[in-house]
């Protein structure tokens, strides 16, 4: 009996991500959740600009590529014209927290009934490791070579906390991919976020901490350890809003 095999919601295409990048794990979690909810026929994914720009090749459902940062706006359009569809947005930190901040905040403030999967690896991966809005204090990047200095570069932006100040979002959670336990918890959060949308509850946002061994200049296993020990200090895991339980504002 097969205990584990690749979900049919993912295509046979080989992922282009670097070795040890946990983007692939999140792809699988999203795909498995959609399959388990039985909504693959209704599903429309929005691919971002960034490392996950080729996400449309990997998901076995309708996909739409959005301009840099504009994925929540595209998702809003698709969801409003096709209210029966299940629209998920898959964005990285450069896309969502930097150039797409306006779209992100306003989609959340409107409480659009969409699901956002936010991949936070605290660096610009695809363009070669520049400092992102989420880069940790002291973390090195090509545009802050002696480490991020708050006096020059400011502080990292915590998106979950920021969105949790708004009234409209229904569900906001931050999860991680540092080990098996956290990956299983991430799956639960992603599935819940998609389920919320299917039930018409409203804006659901899941931030997933992901490693970037290439641009952090670490081995894959070291990178996961760094994520568990350092990234979670700046980005604490947990539920920031869950209206079904009355948590958060």
């Amino acid at each position: 009996m097969k205990v584990f095999e690749k979900t049919k919601m993912l295509t046979d295409a080989h992922l282009h991500y670097c070795p040890g990048c946990t983007h692939g794990i999140v792809h699988r979690l999203v795909a498995e959740s959609i399959e388990e909810l039985g909504l693959q026929e209704k599903c429309v994914g929005i691919a971002p600009v960034g490392c996950a720009v080729f996400a449309y090749d990997y998901f076995n459902c309708d996909m739409q590529e959005a301009a840099h940062g504009r994925a929540p706006a595209v998702a809003t359009g698709i969801k409003r014209t096709h209210p029966d569809s299940l629209v998920f947005v898959y964005q990285g930190d450069g896309d969502l927290a930097s150039i797409g901040m306006a779209e992100t905040v306003h989609a959340a403030a409107r409480g659009e009934n969409i699901t956002i999967i936010f991949i936070n690896n605290s660096i610009y991966g695809m363009t070669g490791g520049q400092m992102a809005p989420t880069t940790l204090i002291g973390q090195r990047a090509t545009t802050c070579q002696s480490g991020r200095d708050p006096a020059v570069n400011g502080y990292p932006i915590r998106i979950c906390e920021l969105l949790a100040t708004l009234d409209a979002p229904y569900y906001i959670e931050r999860v991680s991919t540092q080990d098996v336990r956290h990956v299983l918890a991430a799956k639960k959060a992603i599935k819940k976020a998609l389920q919320n949308q299917a039930e018409g509850k409203g804006y659901s946002f899941v931030e997933v901490l992901v490693s970037c061994p290439t641009n952090w200049h670490m081995k894959p296993v070291e990178a996961l350890r760094f994520m568990g020990e350092e990234c979670t200090k700046t980005f604490p895991l947990g539920v920031y809003r869950d209206k079904s339980k009355g948590e958060g504002k």
Binding site: M1, K2, V3, F4, E5, K6, T7, L10, H14, L15, Y17, C18, P19, G20, C21, T22, H23, G24, I25, R28, D179, V180, V183, L184, P213, K219, P220, V221, L224
Partner: protein
């Protein structure tokens, strides 16, 4: 008996499966590469596999199938 199958064509040799395995069933090969030039993950102690699927859960490339 529990067993795993590793698709070596998609394996990138990141070693997250070997790290996750509680029974040390998997290790990275020191000699064998796939067509992409990665030293692939291979079974070194298949008899110890308990079918927990931790390796498959951590594999970013869905290279592992687990049977029980």
């Amino acid at each position: 008996m529990a067993s795993i199958t590793i698709d070596e064509t998609v394996c990138k040799g990141c070693g997250l499966c070997a790290e996750a395995c509680p029974k040390k069933v998997i290790a990275l090969s020191e000699h064998r590469m796939n067509a992409n030039g990665y030293f692939v993950a291979e079974k070194v102690a298949p008899q110890n596999c308990i079918g927990c699927a931790f390796c498959a859960i951590m594999c970013p490339d869905c290279a592992i199938t687990v049977e029980k």
